[in-house]
């Protein structure tokens, strides 16, 4: 399997075999990081962040530096020609002249696809509005795989903003390809999963009550209600505290539950959950860097898979 030169825009751009290859590579990187510390020497990653980011941008930058490569880019669009009205197509054409691979986050849905169609270098979608975030999905799946060994037959609850949650959409699409996966979708009516994502799932329930669903779950994927996705402030205020997971609620859950969150969180997970052994959201962050190391190395053709 060869991922060299490919783009990663949507979760289904990678086959199950390709994802499994990346997980295996990430495990090798975790086990022996020194073996990979020079493999991207001489290669340049461009980070194009039109929207704020802490974990995704820093983990991509850390990943490239830990592979021996270097990083250029912007984290604030107003400091680039974007502020002068430059199109995505012209920006990516420019970046492709200087860098070997690009990672892009943009508030509009489909922006990464527009870039990929005009780019001569691989483009990685680091979040396009409320649409997809495929590298967060790789992070989530690696975290589950390291703990549970696989995905077949798991019951996963997706909770919170399922309408605009790009991490939710990507994770559902990728996980739905494994056998026996059951989804329990926990959201207010206004933040239900969009139709094009519902179409991907074979086995799912839509519910409104987190406490009721909790005892059935092997994995709980909590998400933030994202203020930046609402055009109407009133709607955001009404829905923002729909679901809050705390230590008391967690008493009803299985011992083997994994609580995941793409972060940042606001109030949806109380800090009294942080020290519970079922809280995996901090481990998830570190896995994010390792899987992005694997992805960068693979797209740059620096590893055989």
């Amino acid at each position: 399997m060869d991922l060299q030169g490919k783009h990663l825009i949507a979760p289904l751009d990678l086959t199950v075999d390709e994802m499994e290859g990346l997980f295996a590579l990430a495990k090798n990187i975790i086990a022996s990081p020194e073996d990979f510390s020079e493999i991207c020497k001489g290669k340049l990653l461009a980070t194009l962040f039109y929207e704020p980011s802490t974990r995704t941008r820093l983990s991509f930058e850390a990943a490239m530096l830990r592979l021996g490569g270097q990083v250029i880019g912007f984290s604030e669009p107003m400091s680039s020609s974007v502020s002068k009205g430059e199109s995505i197509a012209d920006t990516i054409r420019t970046v492709a002249c200087y860098a070997d691979i690009a990672v892009m986050r943009h508030p509009k849905e489909g922006s990464a696809l527009v870039a990929a169609r005009k780019s001569g270098i691989p483009v990685i979608n680091a979040g396009d509005g409320g649409h997809f975030h495929p590298t967060q999905t790789l992070t989530d799946l690696l975290t589950i795989k390291l703990e549970k060994g696989g995905f077949d037959g798991i019951t996963i609850g997706m909770c919170g903003d399922l309408k605009f949650g790009r991490t939710v959409h990507s994770l559902i699409c990728a996980l739905a390809r494994y056998s026996g996966v059951k989804f329990i979708l926990i959201s207010p009516e206004e933040l239900r999963v969009p139709e094009y994502i519902l179409d991907e799932m074979k086995d799912y329930d839509e519910v409104r009550d987190l406490s009721e669903a909790l005892p059935k779950l092997d994995v709980l994927y909590m998400t933030r209600v994202q203020q930046e996705r609402f055009f109407n402030e009133e709607d955001y205020i009404r829905l923002k505290d729909s679901y809050i997971l705390n230590a008391a609620k967690l008493k009803k859950a299985k011992d083997g539950l994994m609580v995941l969150h793409p972060l940042p969180r606001v109030k949806e997970i109380s800090t009294d959950v942080d020290d519970d052994p079922r809280a995996f959201y901090f481990k998830q962050m570190k896995n994010g860097m390792h899987i992005r190391m694997a992805l960068l190395a693979a797209l740059l053709g620096k590893v055989g898979m």
């Binding site: 197509a89 509009k108 849905e109 489909g110 922006s111 696809l113 996705r229």
Partner: protein, 145 residues
């Protein structure tokens, strides 16, 4: 009203009354190649009223989009005063700059040089935006122009 028949060319018949102008617009015909007649609101045995487009001396017109705008229409090819072919319209698999994505979060709402591209999503005539995956009905009300 008397409308002459054509000897060579294409007739698009049984268009929904009132839609002829829009169809002509989407067919994007080079009107310098021959005579073009748009006949509106004529009596029809099948539909009560209909529009007709006659394209004299035209051979190749991309009627793909017509399946989306008015799939009940009939396309008839005429040579030497004889009907040589009739086309049954189907929903096109892909349409570019025909449907408009109405998702305000889609990149097409920000950059107006990006073509609006949709693929047929299912047999009921739903189309999915290539960029944001928003699903809309392939219907006249969602046309771009």
């Amino acid at each position: 009203m008397e409308i002459n028949s054509i000897s060579n060319g294409i007739v698009i018949d049984h268009l929904q009354a009132g839609s002829g102008m829009k169809v002509l617009d989407y067919l994007d015909i080079d009107t310098g190649l021959g005579s073009v007649a748009l006949i509106m609101n004529v009596p029809s045995r099948k539909y009560d009223r209909k529009d007709i487009i006659k394209l004299e001396n035209y051979e190749n017109v991309d009627v793909n989009v017509l399946g989306l705008i008015d799939h009940n229409a009939t396309v008839i090819y005429i040579q030497n005063c004889k009907i040589v072919k009739k086309i049954k319209l189907t929903l096109p698999e892909k349409v570019t700059n025909v449907l408009r994505c109405k998702n305000p979060r889609c990149i097409t709402s920000q950059e107006d040089t990006i073509p609006h591209v949709f693929h047929l999503s299912d047999s009921t005539g739903k189309y999915k935006c290539d960029y944001c995956d928003n699903i809309i009905k392939g219907h006249v009300e969602n046309l771009k122009k």
